[in-house]
Symmetry: C2
Subunit: 268 residues, 2 copies
């Protein structure tokens, strides 16, 4: 069985002492440089593969300091504090000796406790009842995902007449791949920029910072397998060059796997 | 005119090269150690006072690696990447040579663009129509804030019968103090842990990571002045030791100043 292209894209080779070498993968290319979600997954991979890692991801914040260029990069992951059940990480990605990404992560061993999902999965048609779009965006990374839009697709006409930024869609890797923390991280960045939808206008954009809170356990990810995730996202404010995006990802069983947020630069 | 206690609490003395010395302030003491919001404000202050700072805060993520102890601390703020209009920061707080806080921030010069608030301010009675609570929590920091609860107060009886984590309240510094980025950061952490409300049960808790997205400009903060902020918060998921909290802060004029998120450890 050949390796999934996602695994090729997040592959890192250890240089020792928490330092890893990797490179961008053309299969996840964006308009310019790589898809931000694959970069976030590479950053998390440096933590996941670290020999001193304690537990599974609880929180990840990735700051996009500048555009990541196509080609080689180095990632350095350092556990700055290890407690009894939690561990705090600083991660930095460099290209040509310059910092292109900073990130922090928290991993933890989790025990079963009283639990409840307060944000209910919205009522939506099942994945097989939602058609694939007639055409998908002409971006390499978008071909790596199966996206079945339920509400809030990209406008067919760019007429400056949008009125809501809410999008709901079913999504998974294409071809399907069993869900894990790395792919869940990439999927957390799958939503196109809300300003496109709200304005019905294409403007230059770029994610500045993204935070992912992992509610799911490794077991819940394994149970999700190659099933679809229901993604929901919307903006709360667009103000003078920056807007936020707040999102949830559920599995088909209705378990909230991730809540995630980002702040995105936009021009005009 | 004497200095406001908040300014005393966030005062830092420069040790040169982005290194600052400060100390916790008893007026903002929590159950154990300081209120997390004042710690976040101290972290941001190290950026705000940095001679190389470009622009105003857009994003701040603070990771609480371990309990901050009462007493002295050092904060180191380093601009890791400065672009034309944005700047990325790494910040670390240490006590006794050990990392207690890691943080990242983005500052930016912002230009006027097309803007819209998508998340509307909820309809609420005016601040002067909302009574102060009969008693406030017996914590020093809680006395530093005027909180007028509209919905979702702490339960009067801890009977394990909560059913929602939503809280809305009017809030401001006590005594009133003109709003700025540092105080807005502290106010972003004002909400008591959602698990108390949802479970109607007191359990051990601690914020692990908090992210603040600043939508407001310095001018909008100045216009807000000593007015009240409407704070709204709720959890999306409580799962095996960690829950999230997602919050918005508006000024009385209905402008969304901040959207903020945190992930919180809870026991049992």
């Amino acid at each position: 069985m050949s390796e999934h292209v996602f695994d090729q894209a997040i592959a890192l080779s250890s240089q020792g002492d928490g330092l890893w070498a990797g490179q961008t993968h053309p299969a996840y290319a964006n308009m310019v440089g790589p898809f931000g979600g694959i970069t976030a997954a590479q950053v998390l991979s440096a933590v996941l593969q670290h020999p001193q890692r304690l537990g599974d991801p609880v929180s990840l914040t990735v700051n996009y300091c500048t555009g990541v260029a196509d080609g080689a990069f180095a990632v350095h992951a350092r556990p700055v504090r290890t407690n009894r059940s939690t561990q705090h990480w600083l991660i930095e990605m460099q290209q040509q000796g310059q910092t292109v990404i900073t990130a922090t992560a928290v991993t933890a061993t989790r025990r079963e406790t009283w639990s409840v999902d307060e944000e209910p999965m919205p009522t939506c048609p099942a994945p097989d009842q939602v058609a694939l779009p007639a055409q998908s965006p002409p971006l390499a990374w978008a071909q790596r995902y199966e996206m079945r839009p339920i509400a809030g697709s990209l406008p067919g006409v760019w007429d400056d007449r949008g009125d809501s930024s809410l999008t709901q869609l079913w999504m998974r890797d294409n071809p399907p791949r069993p869900l894990d923390f790395a792919s869940l991280t990439a999927l957390s960045d799958l939503f196109f920029p809300r300003v496109f939808l709200r304005r019905a206008r294409l403007v230059p954009v770029g994610t500045v910072s993204m935070t992912v809170y992992f509610h799911a356990s490794a077991e819940q990810l394994a149970q999700t397998g190659t099933g679809y995730l229901l993604g929901q996202t919307r903006a709360q404010a667009f103000r003078n060059g920056y807007f936020d995006q707040t999102s949830q990802l559920w599995n088909e069983a209705g378990i909230l796997l991730v809540t995630t947020h980002q702040i995105v630069y936009y021009k005009e």
